[in-house]
Amino acid sequence: MDEKRLINEINQQIKNKVNLMEVCGTHTHEIKRLGLESVLSNNVNLISGPGCPVCVSSCGMIDQAIECLKDKKTIVTFGDMVKVKGTTSSLKEMKIKGYKVIVIYSPLDLFNIIRNNIDEEIIFLGVGFETTAPVIASVIKQMKKSNQKNVSFLLDIKRMKPILIYILSKNHKINGIVAPGHVATITGSEYFRFITEDYHISCAICGFTSLDILSGIYYLSKHKGKLQFINLYSRAVRPNGNPLAKNIINEVFEESDAYWRGIGSIKYSGYRLNSEYKDYDAINKYQLNIVHNEIDNDCCCDKIMLGLKKPTECKYFRIICHPNNPLGPCMVSSEGCCLAYYKYGRKYG
């Protein structure tokens, strides 16, 4: 079985329109990078959901990180986060002005940073979904164990299930969900079964190769009208996920309401540090006041993230909004849907 045969099978079998939503930025980019839409039947409508944690990060978190910089603290964060704007500025703009912003690949790099900057107050601005939560939790646990005093965490970690419930509880035309393989690696495939059982929509948990993604599309389009749930990424996803990773999430975090940029606050859709770790919570340590403002422009990233519009339907796409002048987070983040459309596809617009 190869990709070419699978594409032929999909195109031959699909007679009516099928709307499939993926909720992982890596899936979005692979679909666009591989140009799958250009080789699949027009009846396959691939919709990108809110699968990029940078895109849905709250403006208020970035605003507060900027306030902390002004207060002579050091902000450490992932690369994509420096480019995303708060209500007035971004961490990148602050870095250019001389404030101390350090970009890291892994939260493990924090250990060296705090060791080399012992007289500074270090704040890690962390975002992510369930995939990244245990990684950040492990580092926080280790910080507490070694009694590190000059570090705290400003976290905007999101949970996938509540946002899917939010989308599926509203009017939508989704026939199938391509579920994010690496979230499922942690949570387990069963975490996504509610999609089929409660919302009567088929769901395939998929990996990230061309064969993985095409298999998901094949499976979901083949079974249109017939409810199915399958874990196609079983080589890396167990039914109940990774127990050690889930334990450490539960040990360090508790579920909390979270604010999704352009969407609003959703009950229990995030993680925050629990009372055992409150000394490491930057909000608690510095009495930060997170105000969830939105940027005042006509950018339609909110609709794009909910799958209600495609980037090409935005009047600013490519014209005013492009990687050198992103109006919204979907053009900023390397996993953003608008950037994927911009990078890989004049043919889509």
Binding site: Q13, G25, P53
Partner: protein, 75 residues
């Protein structure tokens, strides 16, 4: 953000392991995985191994597809 890549374990030293990823050797943290052995393949995210790749399930997708397509032809 949820990007993860596959690496093979070359050696283990307490909470860390040396892995090889597409010819490049690097160290990853392995505290999130139980019962890891030299030669195992792991999924790596942000400096941590987050899951062992199942050898047993490596060809699952190909078998599954074959069955589905046969089912199509028969049905």
């Amino acid at each position: 953000m949820c990007l993860a890549i596959v690496g093979k374990i070359l050696s283990i030293n307490n909470d860390d392991a040396m892995v090889i990823i597409m010819g490049i050797k690097t160290t990853v943290n392995i505290i999130l995985i139980e019962d890891l052995h030299i030669g195992d393949e792991v999924l790596i995210h942000a400096g941590f191994a987050i899951e062992k790749i199942s050898e047993e399930k490596a060809d699952f997708i190909k078998h599954q597809l074959k069955a589905l397509i046969m089912d199509d032809k028969d049905g």
